[in-house]
C-alpha cells in the first residue's frame, strides 16, 4: 500500500542532498574544455556621450578572441532589450519607451552600463585586455534622485523624454477621493521615502553559451528564474534567431528574489558572442559587478494623505509617488510601481475612495525592477505607516483604529475601489492571534523594564494584504502586459507507475521538488519518493513563465493539479476497460481504481503498466501511454496577508535598534508543506527587516557613483542582527485556486518593514518622533534622538 505524503505533511526536502554535499550544479560551476572567458567593459560614468571606442590594443593583447561593441550590435541588426509591460498614463498617453541596447549606443546612462565585451582564453587575459579598451566619453551632468530628475533644468537622459518622465500614471476615482477629503474630520499626512535596495542573491549572476555550427543550435546556461521567457524574448526580439534553435537552461540557481527574472543584456551578448568566436563563452559576475548591474528595487518618494471621520473611519486615501526607474526600462520595470503598487493601497481596510498618482521617472542609476514583494511592500509601508500617524494624530489606539476599519471576514469577497477583489481573508482573526502570540498584554511591563535600564522599547503593527499568484492573463493584458501569465505542467507517468513532472516554474530555494511531489503523491496516491520534478530547461520542459510574484505553487501547482486530473481521467478509462465496468462506476482513491460497490480494483501501477503494454486495452478509443499536460491561467490574483507585530528596544546612546520579538501570523491559504512555508516566511521577514534597519543603495548625487557597492558598504542582514521569529499561519483557503493555496514567497518581505518602523517610531514617540525613514540605522536613530523635539530629560519622566 502506497504511503502518501500529501497536503499538510512536512517531509524533508528532496533537493537538500546535492547542496549539502557540494554536488549542486550552478552556472559558475560549469566548464567546457575549449571555453573562452568574457568580461564586460562597463561605463565608469553615470551619464556620458559615447564618442568612440578604440579596441585595437585590446585586440592585440595575448589570448584575445574578440572585442564586441555597440557598433557590432548595430552592424548585425540586433534588437534591444524589450520591456514586457506597456503602461498607459492618466490621460491615455502611452509610457515613453526608449530603447535599451544590449551594448551602449551613443550614450551611457548609469555607472555599469555595458560598453564592450572582451573575450579571451583566460579570465586573466580577458581582464587585462578589458583594461586596454579605450573609450572616449564626454561626461554629462548626472541625476540620481527622482525629485531632482523631475525638476526644471535637470539633466535629461533622453532627447525624446522631456522632464525624464516615463509615465504620469494614475489609478482610482480622483473626484470621489476629493469629495471624501472635503467632508473629513481629520486628515493625516505623511511624506516618506522607500529606500532603494539591492537584492543580492548569494549566487552572483553568470552565463555560459555555446553554438553548434553543425545544426545551428545555441545553448545558454544562465542564472535565471524564467528560462523560457529568456529564450522567447532573446531569440525573437534581440538576436532574431529561430526560437526552436535556442536552448536555455537555468540549472541550480543560488537565490533570485526577482533579480534573476529579467532578460539581461549579458545573456543576449554572450549567446551572440558564442557563435562569433566559435567556442563556448563563459561569464561570471563578481559581486562588485553585481552591485552595478543587477536590477535594483524600490526607490519611491511618496506623499500620502488619509481622510478620516470623527470616529476614525477611513473616508479617502490619496497618494502621490515618484518612482525611480533608473536609466532604462527593464523587463517588468514600469509595472512594479504602478500595477503592483496602487491596487494594494486599500490594504485590509474598507477605505471607500482611493486615488493614486505615480510619476515614473528616469535617472542615471541602475535600472529598477522587481525585488521580492515588488510594489506591494511599498504600498503596505505607506498604508500601515499612515494608519499609525492617523491614530497618533487623533488620539485613538492604533490597534483600535485598525479594527474599526478592517474588512470583516463575512464581507469577503470584497471589491476594493482600486481594481482588485479580495476573494477571502480574515485580517481580524490574524490580528487577534498575533496579539496573543506576541504577548502584547505583557508589553507594558517589558517597556517599563527597558525604561528602567535606560532604553526605549516600542511595539509596531503591520496588518496587511498583498496580491500574489501573478497573474490572470486577461487582467494583466488590460493593464499593459505584453505576455501571458499562466503556467504549464506535464505529468509523465512511467510504465512502472513512477512519475516525472516537467514544470515551467523554477526552483531556486523554494522547495518545489518537495512541495510539487507532495501534490502528486496526494492526487495520484503514490509514494512521494516516486515523484521527481524537472524544471529549468527549455529542451525538457514544454513552456513556462517561471518563478516570481509568489506564483509557483499558485499558478504552477494549479497546472500540476489540472494535469493530475487528466491523468486520473485517463486512468479511469483504462480501469473501466480492464475491470469490465462502465467508466462512471470507476472510483479512484488513494492510488486505487475500483468498481463502486465491489472489491474489484486495479492499482495505479497496474494502470500505468497497462497504458504502456496495451495488450488488453481499448486501442480503438484510447491512445497508449500515460502522460498529460495542462496549462493553467488563474481567475484572479490571490491575496495572502496577515498581521505582523514587532517589538524593538533602542539604545539611546548608540542608536542601535534591536528586535526583541517578532511575530507573524499569515494567511497563505492552504499549506502544502508547513516546514517550507515557515522557511519562506523567515527569509522574507528578514529581507524586510534588512530594508527597515540596514539596507540602502546610495548614489553620490553629483557623480552618480554607487557608494554602497560592496558588502562592506551595503549592509546585509546577518545572523546576529536577525531576530528569533515566531511565525504561524491562520489560513482561509483561496476560493478560486483548486488547491486553496495563496502563495507565501513574498509575504514576509511585504509585511515586515512597516511593523519594524512602526515599532521604532513607537519607541521614540515620547520624544515627539512621528516618522523615521528607512533604513533605521544606528546613525540615523541616534540623530533622530539628538534632534528630537522633546528634550530627553523631560521625556524620560
Amino acid at each position: 500500500m502506497a504511503t502518501i505524503t500529501g497536503v499538510g505533511a512536512a517531509p524533508l526536502r528532496k533537493e537538500d542532498l546535492r547542496f549539502l554535499t557540494g554536488r549542486g550544479q550552478y552556472v559558475a560551476d560549469m566548464k567546457r574544455l575549449d571555453m573562452a572567458i568574457g568580461v564586460f567593459v562597463r561605463s565608469p560614468h553615470a551619464h556620458a556621450v559615447l564618442k568612440g571606442i578604440d579596441a585595437s590594443a585590446a585586440l592585440q593583447a595575448p589570448g584575445v578572441l574578440a572585442v564586441l561593441t555597440g557598433q557590432d550590435v548595430a552592424a548585425d541588426g540586433l534588437g534591444s532589450l524589450p520591456c514586457g509591460w506597456a503602461i498607459t498614463g492618466k490621460d491615455g498617453v502611452p509610457m515613453k519607451e526608449p530603447s535599451f541596447p544590449i551594448l551602449a549606443q551613443g550614450k551611457v546612462r548609469f555607472v555599469g552600463d555595458m560598453v564592450a565585451f572582451v573575450i579571451a582564453e583566460s579570465i586573466e587575459q580577458a581582464r587585462a585586455a578589458a583594461e586596454l579598451v579605450i573609450v572616449d566619453y564626454e561626461e554629462l551632468p548626472a541625476v540620481v534622485g527622482v525629485l531632482e530628475a523631475v525638476s526644471d533644468g535637470a539633466p535629461q537622459l533622453y532627447d525624446d523624454v522631456p522632464g525624464n518622465l516615463c509615465c504620469d500614471w494614475a489609478l482610482g476615482d480622483e473626484a470621489a477621493t476629493d469629495a471624501a477629503f472635503a467632508k473629513a474630520a481629520h486628515v493625516a499626512r505623511l511624506s516618506l521615502i522607500n529606500n532603494r535596495l539591492i537584492g543580492n542573491p548569494m549566487e552572483p549572476r553568470a552565463a555560459l553559451a555555446e553554438y553548434n555550427p553543425g545544426n545551428g543550435h545555441y545553448t545558454l546556461f544562465t542564472t535565471s528564474q524564467f528560462p523560457h521567457v529568456v529564450r522567447w524574448l532573446m531569440s525573437a526580439l534581440v538576436l532574431k534567431i529561430p526560437e526552436q534553435k535556442v536552448r536555455v537552461v537555468a540549472p541550480d540557481v543560488g537565490g533570485g528574489f526577482g533579480v534573476k527574472q529579467f532578460l539581461y543584456g549579458e545573456e543576449a551578448v554572450i549567446t551572440w558572442a558564442a557563435k562569433k568566436v566559435g567556442v563556448p563563452v563563459k561569464w561570471v559576475s563578481d559581486r562588485a559587478e553585481g552591485f552595478m548591474s543587477d536590477r535594483q528595487g524600490r526607490d519611491h518618494v511618496t506623499e500620502a494623505e488619509l481622510a478620516l471621520d470623527e470616529n476614525g473611519k477611513f473616508l479617502g486615501f490619496r497618494v502621490h509617488t515618484l518612482a525611480n526607474m533608473g536609466g532604462y526600462l527593464s523587463t517588468f520595470g514600469p509595472n512594479i510601481p504602478t500595477n503592483l503598487y496602487a491596487p494594494l493601497l486599500g490594504g485590509v481596510y474598507t477605505t471607500p475612495a482611493i486615488y493614486c498618482n505615480v510619476k515614473v521617472v528616469f535617472t542615471n542609476t541602475v535600472p529598477v525592477d522587481a525585488y521580492r514583494g515588488a510594489g506591494r511592500p511599498e504600498a503596505t509601508f505607506v498604508v500601515e505607516r499612515i494608519v499609525d500617524v492617523a491614530a497618533a494624530d487623533m488620539g485613538i489606539d492604533r490597534v483600535e483604529l485598525r479594527r474599526r476599519n478592517m474588512i470583516p471576514k463575512e464581507a469577503y469577497p470584497y471589491q476594493t475601489p482600486v481594481l482588485v477583489e479580495y476573494d477571502s481573508g480574515d485580517p481580524v482573526g490574524c490580528l487577534d492571534r498575533a496579539e496573543t502570540v506576541a504577548d502584547v498584554a505583557g508589553f507594558a511591563s517589558r517597556k517599563a523594564a527597558s525604561r528602567a535600564a535606560g532604553r526605549f522599547r516600542g511595539l509596531g503593527y503591520s496588518t496587511y494584504v498583498e496580491a500574489c499568484g501573478l497573474a490572470p492573463s486577461r487582467f494583466a493584458g488590460r493593464l499593459g502586459a505584453r505576455g501571458g501569465l499562466y503556467e504549464s505542467a506535464t505529468l509523465r507517468v512511467h510504465p512502472t507507475g513512477q512519475v516525472t513532472v516537467l514544470i515551467g516554474t523554477h526552483n531556486h530555494g523554494q522547495g518545489h521538488e518537495t512541495t510539487f511531489a507532495q501534490i502528486v503523491s496526494e492526487r495520484l496516491g503514490i509514494p512521494f519518493e516516486n515523484v521527481d520534478i524537472v524544471f529549468g530547461d527549455t529542451d525538457k520542459v514544454q513552456f513556462g513563465m517561471g518563478t516570481y510574484g509568489s506564483r509557483s505553487l499558485v499558478v504552477g501547482g494549479s497546472a500540476l493539479n489540472k494535469a493530475s486530473d487528466k491523468v486520473i481521467a485517463k486512468g479511469r478509462k483504462i480501469a473501466a476497460h480492464l475491470l469490465e465496468a462502465g467508466e462512471q462506476d470507476i472510483e479512484f482513491e488513494a492510488g486505487v481504481f475500483s468498481v463502486a460497490g465491489t472489491d474489484r480494483t486495479k492499482s495505479f501501477v497496474e494502470i500505468a503498466l497497462a497504458a504502456y503494454v496495451p495488450h488488453n486495452y481499448p486501442l480503438e478509443v484510447l491512445e497508449p501511454g500515460l502522460e498529460e499536460q495542462a496549462y493553467y491561467d488563474p481567475i484572479n490574483f490571490t491575496y495572502p496577508g496577515g498581521a505582523h507585530i514587532c517589538e524593538v528596544e533602542i539604545d539611546p546612546d548608540t542608536g542601535v535598534v534591536r528586535i526583541e520579538r517578532y511575530t507573524g501570523v499569515d494567511d497563505v491559504g492552504t499549506v502544502i508543506n508547513p516546514m517550507i512555508v515557515e522557511g519562506q516566511l523567515h527569509g522574507g521577514i528578514v529581507q524586510g527587516i534588512g530594508q527597515a534597519l540596514c539596507e540602502a543603495a546610495i548614489y553620490d548625487d553629483q557623480s552618480g557613483q554607487l557608494l554602497s557597492g560592496s558588502f562592506m558598504d551595503y549592509c546585509m542582514p546577518r545572523a546576529d542582527m536577525s531576530p528569533h521569529m515566531d511565525v504561524s499561519t491562520h489560513s482561509t483557503p483561496c476560493t478560486h485556486t483548486p488547491l486553496g493555496v495563496k502563495g507565501c514567497g513574498e509575504v514576509g518581505t511585504i509585511g515586515s518593514p512597516a511593523a519594524v518602523i512602526n515599532a521604532v517610531v513607537d519607541a521614540l514617540s515620547h520624544l515627539g518622533v512621528t516618522h523615521v525613514d528607512m533604513p533605521a540605522t544606528p546613525n540615523r536613530i541616534w540623530r533622530v534622538i539628538q534632534n528630537a523635539t522633546l528634550p530627553r530629560a523631560l521625556a524620560a519622566e
Partner: protein, 161 residues
C-alpha cells in the same frame, strides 16, 4: 609551482601559479565546485573550508599556504553515503533553501562547534558573523547548528564508548 597537500584525505599535488586563490584552485583545477564564491571582499563566507580543521575563507588564501597541510571541503565531509552530523542537521532542520551559502555555513558550523561544543543561540549568531545567507533568515540555520552540535557530541561519545 607544485604544491603538495592533503585534500579530503587524499594526497594531492597541484601545479598552479603562486597567485592562485585556494577557492580558484579548488573550483577550477580540482573540479571541486562545492566551495562557492559569493563576493570579492571576504564578506560572505560562501567559500569557507577547513584548513587543518580550522575554518578559513578560501577566497582569501593563496595556494602556496596549503603546502604540507590538510584541507577539507564540503565534498569531503560525508563518509560514503553517511552525512556528517552537521550536514544531516541542516537537512532535518531545513537550514538551507537555495543551497549557495550552505557549504560555507556547514564548514563554519563545524568549526564553531569544535571550539564550543554546546553553543547558545547568541553564540551561534555571533559565530556566523562572517557568513551571509539571503534565503533563510538564519533561524533554521541556528536550529541546525544546535542540533548538529548535539549530534556531534553524541557521535564522539559513541565513538569513545
Amino acid at each position: 609551482m607544485p604544491i603538495s597537500f592533503t585534500l579530503n584525505g587524499r594526497s594531492r599535488t597541484a601545479d598552479v601559479p603562486s597567485s592562485t586563490l585556494v577557492s580558484d584552485l579548488l573550483r577550477d583545477h580540482m573540479n571541486l565546485t562545492g566551495t562557492h564564491v559569493g563576493c570579492d571582499t571576504s564578506q560572505c563566507g560562501a567559500c569557507v573550508v577547513l584548513l587543518d580543521g580550522e575554518a578559513v575563507k578560501s577566497c582569501t588564501l593563496l595556494a602556496p599556504v596549503l603546502a604540507g597541510r590538510s584541507l577539507t571541503t564540503i565534498e569531503g565531509l560525508a563518509k560514503g553515503e553517511k552525512l556528517h552530523p552537521m550536514q544531516e542537521a541542516f537537512h532535518t532542520q531545513h537550514g538551507l533553501q537555495c543551497g549557495f551559502c550552505t557549504p560555507g555555513m556547514v564548514m563554519t558550523a563545524i568549526d564553531l562547534v569544535n571550539h564550543n561544543p554546546v553553543p547558545t543561540e547568541a553564540e551561534i549568531r555571533e559565530g556566523l558573523e562572517g557568513n551571509i545567507c539571503r534565503c533563510t533568515g538564519y533561524q533554521n540555520i541556528v536550529k541546525a547548528i544546535q542540533a548538529g552540535a548535539a549530534a556531534m557530541a553524541a557521535s564522539t561519545t559513541a565513538a569513545a564508548a
